[in-house]
Symmetry: C2
Subunit: 372 residues, 2 copies
């Protein structure tokens, strides 16, 4: 069933929209006082993520407060390896870690893709509960970490500055790494399909650590498995198409290859120019991004001009051949916990106003003066 506000879904399918849709990576998060209040009630992050009721509450909070065009499931990118039995935990100030990292051949051989209905039911319950709470206002985005990004955490056992352990496995035992990534690809595809069956209307793959690889290694160990996941995704649910978004942080050099992986949209970090990206992929995908999250610390006039610059860098909605480009406004990375909620409100309004205005300015041109 189509949500009342289907701007995001149309932009993802490169259909015309009156405004550029906007949502923000990590929009349900610590910059919101109401989030911190719910988290306090939950006890900690994992308890919050495991409670469908509280996870629904925080998923809805930014949608209630701002005029965002989508909700994104509140969850963690590491739920899948946690369901594999690696023991996800969070240490204050250190980020996520696994109690039982994957280091040896027997560790890898013991891995199996978990049945999401059995092991990740709490996420699927949250998806259903969020859909009910949204009441068809805006679409719900489900997500997972990419097979490679999950592998980074699984092998390193947590965050890393140099990815020494996982890269040593990659260079020394590529066979083991491929085995691990096969399991991850199966697990992520099953997980996202279960989210779709439960009601996720869009799915996104976060390849947070794809950009730490060389080009050939990225294609072999990251993109190949992201493409496997995308190929296995349900493209439709109850008659509605379910678009997919792939975001590779630091992956600008490989944009053409990423856009060819089968996804509907590519997320870009803020080092890339959207207009150049659009030319490079020849309009084959929608593009999502790419404001510098630090622009939210700017005075409102500067924030508005930065937002406008991002919109203008993408350019006119229509391509030269009469089709549409498809731009989803977002940050180039997750929102900072130090952001003032008032800045987010100003950004959402600015993106809607400026994109509507730019479409107005563009309309006569598109009908006549364009050289194409």
């Amino acid at each position: 069933m189509k949500p009342a506000n289907d701007t995001l879904l149309r932009a993802l399918r490169r259909q015309p929209t009156e405004t550029t849709p906007i949502w923000l990576m990590r929009q349900a998060g610590r910059y919101l006082p109401e989030y911190n209040e719910t988290r306090r009630r939950a006890g900690d992050f994992l308890a919050l993520a495991h409670s469908p009721q509280l996870a629904t509450e925080v998923t809805l909070q930014p949608v209630e407060r701002f005029g965002l065009d989508a909700a994104i499931l509140f969850s963690d990118i590491l739920t899948v390896p946690d369901a594999m039995g690696l023991g996800l935990c969070f240490t204050e100030g250190e980020g996520p870690a696994f109690e039982r990292p994957v280091r040896t051949e027997s560790d890898v051989m013991a891995l199996a893709a978990p049945d999401p209905h059995e092991k990740l039911g709490y996420v699927l319950d949250t998806v259903r509960s969020v859909r009910a709470a949204l009441g068809g206002r805006v679409p719900l985005i489900g997500f997972s970490g990419s097979p490679w990004t999950l592998a980074c955490y699984m092998v390193e056992g947590g965050g890393s500055e140099d990815f020494r352990t996982v890269k040593t496995m990659l260079y020394t035992r590529p066979d083991l790494m491929h085995r691990l990534l096969q399991v991850n690809a199966r697990a992520v595809a099953d997980y996202l399909n279960a989210q779709i069956a439960a009601g996720a209307q869009v799915v996104m793959l976060f390849d947070t650590w794809g950009g730490v690889l060389t080009g050939p290694a990225f294609r072999e160990f990251s993109l190949a498995y992201t493409a496997q996941v995308v190929a296995r995704l349900q493209r439709e649910h109850e008659g509605d198409p379910v678009p997919s978004i792939v975001f590779v942080k630091g992956g600008g050099a490989w944009l053409e290859a990423i856009a060819a992986c089968g996804c509907d949209a590519v997320g870009l970090d803020w080092t890339q120019d959207l207009g150049q990206a659009r030319v490079r992929i020849g309009g084959s995908c929608a593009l999502q991004g790419n404001l510098d999250p630090a622009a939210l610390f700017a005075p409102e006039a500067v924030l508005r001009s930065e937002a406008r610059r991002v919109l203008e860098s993408f350019g006119a909605p229509r391509n030269a051949d009469g089709t549409y480009g498809g731009h989803i406004f977002n940050l180039g990375h997750g929102i900072s916990r130090f952001t003032r909620p008032e800045a987010v409100a100003a950004l959402v309004d600015a993106v809607h106003e400026e994109s509507r205005r730019l479409r107005g300015a563009d309309a006569p041109q598109a009908g006549g003066a364009s050289p194409a």
Copy 2:
């Protein structure tokens, strides 16, 4: 005076070389037991960097041990702001920090470019001492952090994950940021020219944090000031040209602009393809890079094939128009402290052997079968 091994100097000037020269960022460092021994005697990193005798010792160590084609001055990228009076200190495990960060308008207004002869004499003494100790074997590379990268540390007061403080100044008070960067550009140019006068035969600018900016901000706040520095550099010393290298970590998207800043060579991280980079800049600069430092954790056969892949990605030494491309082999980032010295020895040999072999294989082609 030309060093006995001038392969690096020729490659930087895009002249023919028999092998591809190789040196490694941070080649004098903690992966070498003899370095750790000298550092232990010095007491700590800063004492080591401040002692011309000990800094000379560690600068020479990798040159003595491996067949490297250059020495790089042992020093820190933050010597300049330290000389401005900000109080550089190192906290165990936290990296460099400044006791008096630059946060307010009056902090910025109080900054002045230090006279390198007065405040950085210990570095210049080290340059002279290293030149004497090298005895003309290989050229000596001097260096500094770029104006923007220095500004990041000066405003943040140390390392950062999100560069929130410096970006807030950039977006909120661009006038102050420009004032700070003007001072830095003057200071870095004076510093590098003093290094050249003392005997540095090549100079390199490290823009470690250029890649955290948007494209327009990179051009305005980073590249413009790097270009100012390059424009002010002495291009010759005692009749010999002094080439410059600019390295922007994560700057692949802006390669054309970086190559046009006036430098002789551009350093690339390992996400970029050297052959594509060469095409993009049309042979206007030499290229330095770009092995993944983690490849040094691979078995020797894999390390060799990764080194060969980097050499092959650059391609034949000669351009289509008969000029030469100019490739300097390096890592795409500083060497890891966990690297085994034996792996470095194997890498240096592999690069020399494979590049000599590829030149042999290329020679008949270049004379005949090449379509160009």
